[in-house]
């Protein structure tokens, strides 16, 4: 019985490999590697968009979470695979910082963007019992004697980079405490185990509405519709404009060198899927904004992000290697 099954499986395998050599893309199921664990922002995005894309492509996308090393594990797997569009990376902004943090020699330059799907904003959040109620008061308090405890998701993560921006502009130093991500960090701030945390809008919006967290400012140039009462940072400190727009994003990527027609098929499918009502609803509810950049537009988006983030991390002392080593231009 087992032997017969084994033969059957191997025959099927051979057939599927042989079949893949010809015919138009996509001819067989596609592997989708998710950079982060189940239940996280990247995972939610992947699972929300994929069923819609599958319908358009007429092929299954087999999703797998391959978390680890800030997403470098999944990124490496995609780059080690073939550039045929059958292995996709569902990822967030992290590969932009791998090189300066010395996590991996890879970066977005080793990938071809299929689509930059969703972007988010970052809100500076505080525990409701902290004495500062506005961004101004917060900056004053941060300059004071006692260091404010800021929760982060580790060196190089978004909260860390936001902290670096504040350091650059106001000269404020924080006592960083590292948590396992936005969620656990937000929990710690609510429980009073840290005072502030720059959090993705998607993580924080419900807590702010419920009064569990205090939103001090959004790191954008315009107020966001989800939080009309929280000021945009440039209303108070226009000097932040030099770093903006900046924030988390989720996208889909293929290995560099994927044939142009394959890439175009994929980009079209994702663009179309993102127009689905259910995806729009998902983006709205999760506190994000649709971006939808593909092709060269997506490439320059990634380059700008890389330049802003890596130089901020470097100037804040968190980088192991200088961005100059990798010819990452300094932001203007």
């Amino acid at each position: 019985m087992k032997k017969r099954a084994a033969i059957l499986v191997s025959v099927l395998l051979v057939l599927s490999i042989a079949g893949a050599a010809m015919a138009a893309y996509p001819e067989k199921s596609i592997q989708g590697l998710i950079q982060w664990g189940a239940g996280g922002g990247t995972d939610n995005f992947a699972r929300a968009v994929t069923p819609l894309v599958e319908k358009i492509l007429g092929q299954t996308i087999i999703l797998q979470n391959r978390p680890g090393a800030s997403g470098a594990v999944a990124t490496t797997m995609v780059v080690n695979g073939a550039a045929d569009g059958y292995t996709l990376l569902y990822g967030a902004e992290n590969p932009a910082n791998y090189r300066v943090l010395d996590l991996s020699p890879l970066s977005f330059h080793d990938l071809d963007p299929v689509v930059i799907a969703v972007e988010g904003a970052v809100v500076i959040c505080a525990n409701p019992e902290t004495p500062y109620n506005t961004m101004d008061e917060f900056v004053e308090a941060a300059k004071g004697e006692k260091k404010i405890r800021m929760a982060t998701s580790g060196v190089g993560g978004l909260p860390y980079v936001a902290g670096a921006m504040m350091k650059n502009i106001h000269g404020t130093e924080f006592n960083y405490i590292q948590f396992d991500g936005d969620g656990p960090g937000a929990t710690a701030v609510m429980g009073g185990h840290a005072d502030v945390m720059p959090l993705a809008l998607s993580t924080s919006v419900e807590y702010i509405k419920a009064g569990r967290l205090k939103g001090l400012a959004v790191l954008t140039t315009k107020r966001v519709p989800q939080l009309p009462d929280v000021p945009a940072i440039t209303e108070i400190y226009p000097e932040y404009a030099q770093y903006l727009p900046w924030g988390p994003f989720y996208g889909v990527f293929a290995k560099k060198g994927t044939p142009a027609d394959v890439l175009a098929t994929l980009s079209d499918a994702f663009t179309k899927a993102m127009e689905d009502e259910r995806f729009e609803e998902f983006v709205k509810n999760s506190g994000g904004f649709k971006n939808g950049a593909t092709g060269t537009e997506a490439v320059s988006y990634l380059e700008k992000f890389e330049s802003t983030a890596s130089w901020l991390i470097y100037n804040a002392g968190g980088a192991k290697k200088s961005p100059a080593e990798f010819n990452i231009p300094e932001p203007k």
Binding site: A38, N44, L103, N175, Q178, K209, S286
Partner: protein, 497 residues
Amino acid sequence: MEQSFQYFLIPFLSWEMMLLIWAGVFAGIWVGAIPGLSVTMAASLLISFTFSWDLNHALALICGVFVGGVYGGSITAILLNIPGAPAAIATGIEGYPLAQLGEAGKAIGLCTTVSVFASFVGILALSVAAPVIANFSLKFSPRDFFLLAVMGILLIGSIGGGDPVKGVAAGAVGVLLSMVGMDPSTGELRYTFGNIHLMAGISFVTAMIGLFGVSEALTQFRNAGKKSPKQNLDRIIPSWATFVKYLPLSIRSSLLGVFIGALPGTGGDVAALLAYDQAKRTVRNPSRPFGTGAYEGIVAPETANKGAIGGAFIPMLTLGIPGDAVTAIIIGALYIHGLKPGPMLMIETPHLFWMIVSCLSIASVALMVLGLVSVKPFAKIIEIPKEIIMPVVIILSVIGTYAIQNSVVDIFYMIGFGILGYFMRLYGYATGPMVLGLILGPMLDANYRRAMQGAENQLLPFLEGFVTNPISLFLTLSIVFLVFSQTKVYRRWRGFE
């Protein structure tokens, strides 16, 4: 109130939901029983699978799988000494000796009954005290999680087998292995030798499958040809008197489970181990000495890990904070289905809360029925000759490991741990402490450093926290007591010796 009741009735009025819950429990029992196939994995697969479904139906199925899966892990622990999930490790310590004595049926029967009871304790806590418990769980600081982990490490004394030195050695190696990968706080790479696979760390589930599954199978090959113990299957359902006898322990352990489950990030595995330890220290006259088949040692971890199910939903439904890995995935499912999990969830969508309470209740009833019906066929598994069942175990271990993240490297790890475990057993080292070290190592490491960072890396303020914060003080005193209770002075005073 009336409205809550109406919401509670939603699953009862839909035959599809009823069917899905029962099917979920049934599938969950099998998923849980196979080492490596976990509830977390099943839940995340189901989310893609149920994307186009109505949310209520999807949740009904996931709740069923959750309840069934936690139970299933214990069955193989009792029958084959191979826990299907970390939450069942403690159960195997007492359950397997019982199966060897021919009492597997009685053990599973008792396990089923107390499991259902504990599951209802969890549901009750969820429905009457959720906001209170959730707010309290937020008060747990990194320092307190550190103390909980220390408490867990002390368990090595309980599950370490005969020789304490060997137990500590195995535990220490486990902690050491848990350090491999990225430093949780700075991202520095530790013991990775530039290897990308080591960068992702060593998963404790992979290690567990090897150390329990494969190493048990290899060990059993030494007994090939020997006749398996005859199982007595006359009285499966425990008598009322038995149930009442274990009631105080059941209540205590299930409440502990509810609470540990409600703490963000800790779930049934930690709860079950702490409950087992607690039972071992406090039960005066166990049915047999602990380690040789004490029924109390099954009741405590089983009630704790089932209580933790309701517990894990507490912060999830009230605050949008996952209590464990499965509820983290359910939060994702809610997002995908267009809901906004968070503190407003209960206010904006109150039906969801009561519907989940109801799904869990139905799942618990289904567990009672399906669990008791399958005791006899399950118990027969032991009577299958070892040379047939153990290769099956090895095959399932390989499949289960691969299924975690479709990684061939994990299979090599798993087999490596299996061989290591075989030699550990041969030389009298228990494998439990090593898995414990792998589970608790990261919790110790990350939380100690967070607590230290919170005190600006100053020793004095750091130590001050242990006595000035009421929760930390309580936990510190508990640890002192745990250690003290092992001394001769105390044991003589309490009449244990």
